[in-house]
């Protein structure tokens, strides 16, 4: 390692955690004469690049980042587990395995939504525990929150994180308003410590980047006055352009760890630049412990040319948004909200939604914390209220569940009766009385889920695959199928992955595959086939090879797709709609229209593969229609005979 020895000794590494344990690390942080930095790669990617930063880019700067000396690299969790599978086509666990091999001296951190894990709704407890155990192989620091700051929602995760020997970092979700007093938050810290004990890192999670620097400094001070030995980690967003200010005040008031990002990729809604934090605090007499400043610069120097590849995923609106102080949208959701507004055609309504309706809804529903999944509930409700021109009409189930207390108690107050009436109708009182209460999610039978997954994939599955399936079933299955077809494509650089408009003739790419083998691929000519598909000639490792790409045909196209499964054909047969189970030729039709048939009678003889196959009636009835004649070619699923069922 090229890292200076003194720096290395100040650092906290996965090895320290493994060999010396959580208490040793917390002590080391407390005793240090400065503060530590977490590089929030994942949050930057989610807030400013719609979660699309590719493993290729992460690997590209893995050495510099590993040598830079961060407390941790926040690299997974949040929405990234989902997007890894959905849009990056990488197994989120494999990503961590690969990256940790590249960055052996840096602890990995995640963001876990408590009972909602890395998703948007509560998971059963056995799924939560299995998931945490699985991710704990790679994730050393677990940042855990609940959007209602409702402690019971986080307990299973807390327990598993501790059992796995990882560093637990419970969050205080932070917001502003008359209820959000220091007193409230200090009391909340007490509630957390009651269940976790003091061997934790406490995170002030300022997902919206709200409040002033003075306010954050005051909060840190209030917490430390009550719990002086607590290690406080400040996390914020730079949406209003002032997160540096908040970070400075947090550290000046005793926070020991802060979040920031690589300046080559900083945008408007994510973390502020690491280097600015280091240099500013330096003048205040606070030292970034373990940090190699030059490596921080080197990382961004190497990253800068990559940003071009991600321009499609940057915000549609450039510029900071200080109005976040009223609409409080979390940085991680701002980009996607604008994207949704663009796609939904209501961009012009955004000022009304953000500045008027969203703050109003926020207050009406209880002024709790606008973060997943609460931020989605607030956002959707505000958009609906504006678009439908009638407030709280057709509320979705998430809002209903929330108002029924199923996600936990609201911290300050419940919505007004008028809102209950709009959401649940005139009989709202009965409904609420009958249904109100915390919703405990019943455990799933994990063995059954495993068998279902195996059936869907037609092969045996690993426990990692099962864990991913339990998070996002359909998207996980699609990803596994993708991987079966294309292999490990996350090795591809973003200039290939996100290319639009096709490549240039003669363009050449060099990359290593997941097994370390180097490849050179050169783009050759391309032609359309008679059936409308495309053959592309690629020079693969010096061998020219043509590759066929099947193109989706437009509606009414010539391609005929088999849409019926054997099961569906069988089901139709039982109802009298007899279809071919194979591709072949009609050899003989022993029945005729109007004739009676009984179950077991041969309806049609099909010839396929030089063999005769009987199509047998499964029911009694009358032949109402014969749709083929001898010699006809039939395909799987084609209609043969219609039988009118007799009773």
């Amino acid at each position: 390692m090229k890292v200076a020895k003194a720096k290395l000794e100040e650092r906290i590494t996965p090895r320290d955690l493994r060999e010396k344990g959580v208490d040793y690390i917390l002590d080391k942080i407390r005793r240090s004469d400065g503060y530590y930095i977490t590089n929030t790669e994942r949050d930057l990617s989610q807030s400013d690049f719609k979660n699309r930063i590719m493993p290729h880019t992460q690997i590209l700067v893995s050495e510099e980042r590993n040598d830079a000396g961060y407390f941790s690299l926040e690299i997974t969790g949040g929405a990234s587990v989902h997007v890894d599978m959905l849009r990056k086509q990488i197994n989120p666990l494999e990503k961590l395995e690969v990256l940790s091999a590249h960055m052996p001296d840096t602890m990995f951190q995640n963001l876990c939504r408590g009972i909602n894990l890395f998703g948007y709704r509560p998971y059963p407890e056995n799924v939560i525990r299995l998931t945490v155990r699985t991710f704990a192989r790679y994730v050393h620091v677990w940042r855990v929150f609940d959007f209602l700051n409702y402690v019971p929602n986080m307990i299973p995760v807390f327990e598993e994180v501790k059992a796995a020997g990882c560093i637990l970092e419970p969050c205080l979700c932070f917001s502003t308003g008359p209820e959000h007093t220091d007193k409230f938050y200090v009391k909340k810290v007490g509630e957390l410590l009651d269940v976790t004990g003091e061997d934790i890192v406490l995170c002030i999670k300022n997902h919206g980047g709200v409040g002033t620097s003075k306010r954050i400094g005051g909060l840190v001070r209030a917490i430390l006055d009550k719990y002086p030995d607590l290690v406080v980690h400040y996390h914020g967003h730079n949406t209003d352009g002032n997160d540096i200010g908040r970070i400075i005040e947090a550290v000046r008031n005793g926070a020991k760890i802060v979040d920031a990002g690589d300046h080559a990729f900083t945008g408007f809604y994510g973390p502020p630049p690491i280097l600015t934090v280091i240099d500013t605090l330096e003048e205040y007499g606070h030292r970034a412990v373990g940090i190699d400043r030059q490596k921080v610069i080197d990382t961004s120097t190497k990253l800068r040319p990559q940003r071009e590849c991600y321009k499609d995923f940057e915000s549609q609106f450039f510029g900071f948004d200080p109005t976040v102080q009223t609409h409080k949208l979390p940085g991680g959701a701002t980009g996607s909200s604008f994207e949704q507004a663009g796609k939904g055609g209501f961009l012009p309504l955004m000022p009304e939604i953000l500045q008027k309706e969203l703050p109003k809804v926020q207050k009406e529903l209880g002024n709790w914390w606008s973060v997943t999944p609460g931020s989605q509930i607030l956002w959707t409700t505000a958009v609906n209220n504006v678009l439908k021109k009638e407030r709280y009409k057709d509320a979705n189930d998430d809002l209903k569940n929330l108002m029924l207390g199923r996600y936990g108690d609201l911290p300050f107050y419940w919505p007004s009766d008028e809102i209950y009436a709009s959401v649940f109708g005139p009989d709202w009182k009965e409904t609420v009385e009958k249904e109100k209460g915390y919703q405990k999610i019943v455990d799933v039978d994990i063995e059954i889920e495993k068998r279902v997954l195996e059936q869907r994939l037609g092969r045996s599955v690993t426990e990692d695959e099962l864990v991913l399936y339990l998070q996002h079933p359909n998207d996980a299955v699609n990803f596994f199928k993708f991987e079966e077809k294309y292999g490990k494509t996350w090795v591809l650089p973003p200039e290939i992955w996100f290319k639009k408009g096709g490549f240039n003739l003669g363009e050449k790419f060099k990359f290593s595959d997941a097994f370390g083998k180097q490849h050179i691929i050169e783009i050759g000519s391309k032609r359309k086939t008679k059936s409308g598909d495309v053959v592309t000639y690629l020079v693969i490792d010096h061998h020219p090879e043509p590759i066929l790409t099947e193109m989706e045909q437009e509606a009414g196209g010539v391609r005929k797709k088999i849409t019926l499964t054997a099961k569906e054909i069988d089901a139709l047969a039982k109802s009298g709609d007899i279809r071919s189970t194979l591709k072949g030729t009609v050899n003989e039709i022993p029945v005729s229209e109007g004739g009676d048939v009984s179950a077991g009678q041969v309806l049609i003889v099909l010839e396929a593969m030089k063999m005769l196959n009987n199509v047998i009636s499964e029911i009694n009835g009358k032949v109402s229609e014969v749709l083929v004649s001898p010699g006809d070619e039939v395909d799987t699923g084609d209609s043969l005979v219609i039988i009118e069922k007799s009773d």
Partner: protein
């Protein structure tokens, strides 16, 4: 020792000028090639769905015989009509279709057209398997226990039951006019007869226009070995060695090897048996005597004699250097064989594989309707290709799914397998699934290497079907890059 007999006074010689090939696909092209080498005029016939077929391009003339599919190729009158309008004085029937149709042979003779094959009497006798058995029995040739043609209706069922009682199960139901694996059904027990017999009859009727079937004792897991025969009108009969066709799927040959791996004395007896079978039947032209061989004892039994060119004749040709079609034409002209039997040498080992547009993993389902978007074939020493495929070829749904037959020859078994593997890997076929990966899996299978295989090979080696779908990581990546290029965006990223 055998001496070439020449110029028997009674043999009528007739010089052929124009040969009509009453067939399609790769065999039509194969015959056209030899016809042209002999300096003769090659006339192709084709049904409408074959309008873009490769063989037509190589013929000197081509006659459209109808809309098909199959029925016009099977129509003797259309073929004779085509011969008349094109001025053909001979017809080569190839294999399948009219090749073993005695009436067609007779009709040619009647129309003054030389039928390149045995006389209609011989086809009649040998084509009727029951009659063939009688002849062979007379000649003292060992044969498998079996019945005469079954009576029609329920009486046939009784006869089958009776046979099963006497000889035990399993038994085989075979179409009397059958061949090429068609019209064969295995019966496992007495109650199965009621199911299988009507199907066997129907199949026989549909395929051969003759619903007669007979019963034969089923020899379990035998080897299938055949001897290639050439016989002229001067009484000369020679053999061109054996072929092992044991590797089959549902009685359809997939891969053929020449010569069969049998002890020299067994081979010699088998050759002699085949030659005497041909003599006994007054056989002329090219023919094949098929034997079933007990894999353990090497005992063998006569199975049937095919009165036509075989699909797998290429393995014999590559091994001996003899052009069987050339000899067929010369024999048909009344010429005496030029090659003395002792001059026939079997040089090394040869394997033929049938590369079909089929998905081996999906029960060899034909890929009919798909187009071969890219086709590049292997070449080099010891490789022979007989095909109907070309870049842009659409796999017909009307006919079979054969793309190309590849025959490879090597100095010994090991080299031949190595060459086969190399050549299979050199194929580049984009579009349909093919049987190539299946053959590659066989190339790597240890029992095949040791020469240990019989007709149960595919059933006893299911692992062959577990070949990996994708051999290289870069193949998947390339597929994706091509897709991003073709679709102008990555559908898996946005």
């Amino acid at each position: 020792m055998f001496k070439i007999k020449k110029g028997k006074a009674m043999v009528k010689k007739r010089k052929i000028q124009k040969v009509l090939i009453a067939n399609r696909g790769e065999v039509a092209l194969r015959i056209i090639r030899t016809v042209k080498e002999l300096g003769l005029f090659a006339i192709a016939v084709y049904e409408k769905p074959d309008s873009e077929a490769l063989f037509i391009r190589f013929a000197d003339d081509a006659i459209l015989v109808g809309d098909g599919p199959r029925k016009d190729y099977l129509d003797p009158d259309r073929m004779i009509w085509a011969a008349h309008i094109s001025g053909a004085d001979a017809i080569h029937p190839g294999y399948g279709f009219l090749a073993e149709n005695a009436e067609f042979s007779a009709a040619c003779e009647k129309a003054g057209i030389v039928f390149i094959g045995p006389s209609s009497d011989v086809i009649q006798d040998l084509g009727n398997k029951v009659k063939a058995r009688e002849i062979m029995k007379r000649a003292g040739i060992p044969f498998i226990p079996g019945t005469d043609n079954l009576s029609s209706g329920d009486k046939g069922i009784d006869e089958t039951v009776e046979f099963g009682k006497n000889y035990g199960y399993p038994i085989m139901l075979k179409a009397s006019s059958g061949g090429g694996g068609k019209g064969i059904r295995k019966v496992e027990n007495e109650s199965d007869i009621l199911v299988q017999l009507p199907l066997a009859r129907a199949e026989a009727l549909s395929a051969f226009n003759d619903e007669k079937v007979y019963v034969e004792k089923c020899i379990e897991a035998p080897r299938h070995v055949e001897v290639q025969i050439l016989a002229d009108h001067h009484g000369n009969v020679i053999h061109l060695g054996t072929r092992d066709c044991s590797i089959q799927r549902r009685h359809q040959k997939l891969l053929e090897i020449a010569p069969a791996d049998l002890p020299a004395d067994v081979l010699e007896t088998m050759h002699e048996t085949a030659v005497s079978a041909a003599r006994e039947t007054n056989y002329t032209n090219a023919g094949t005597v098929e034997f079933l061989v007990n894999s353990k004892t090497n005992d063998f039994w006569f199975m049937e004699m095919n009165t036509r060119l075989q699909v797998e004749h290429t393995v014999t040709e590559i091994l001996t250097g003899v052009d069987i079609v050339r000899e067929q034409i010369r024999i048909a002209e009344g010429e005496a064989l030029e090659i003395p039997g002792e001059r026939v040498q079997l040089m090394g080992k040869a394997i033929q594989v049938r590369i079909n547009a089929e998905d081996p993993k999906n029960n060899f389902w034909p890929e009919g309707g798909k187009r071969v978007e890219v086709y590049q074939s292997p070449g080099g020493h010891g490789i022979r290709l007989d095909g109907m495929v070309y870049q842009g070829y659409k796999i017909p749904t009307e006919y079979d799914s054969l793309l190309v037959k590849m025959t490879v020859r090597g100095y010994n078994w090991e080299q031949t397998i190595q060459r086969l593997r190399r050549a299979l890997n050199d194929f580049l076929i984009v579009g349909p699934e093919t049987t190539i990966p299946f053959y590659l899996a066989i190339c790597d299978e240890p029992d095949f290497h040791k020469g240990k295989f019989d007709t149960s090979y595919l059933d006893t080696h299911p692992e062959i079907f577990n070949y990996p779908e994708k051999e290289r990581e870069v193949a998947g990546l390339s597929k994706l890059i091509a897709e991003i290029h073709a679709k102008k965006t990555n559908p898996y990223a946005y």
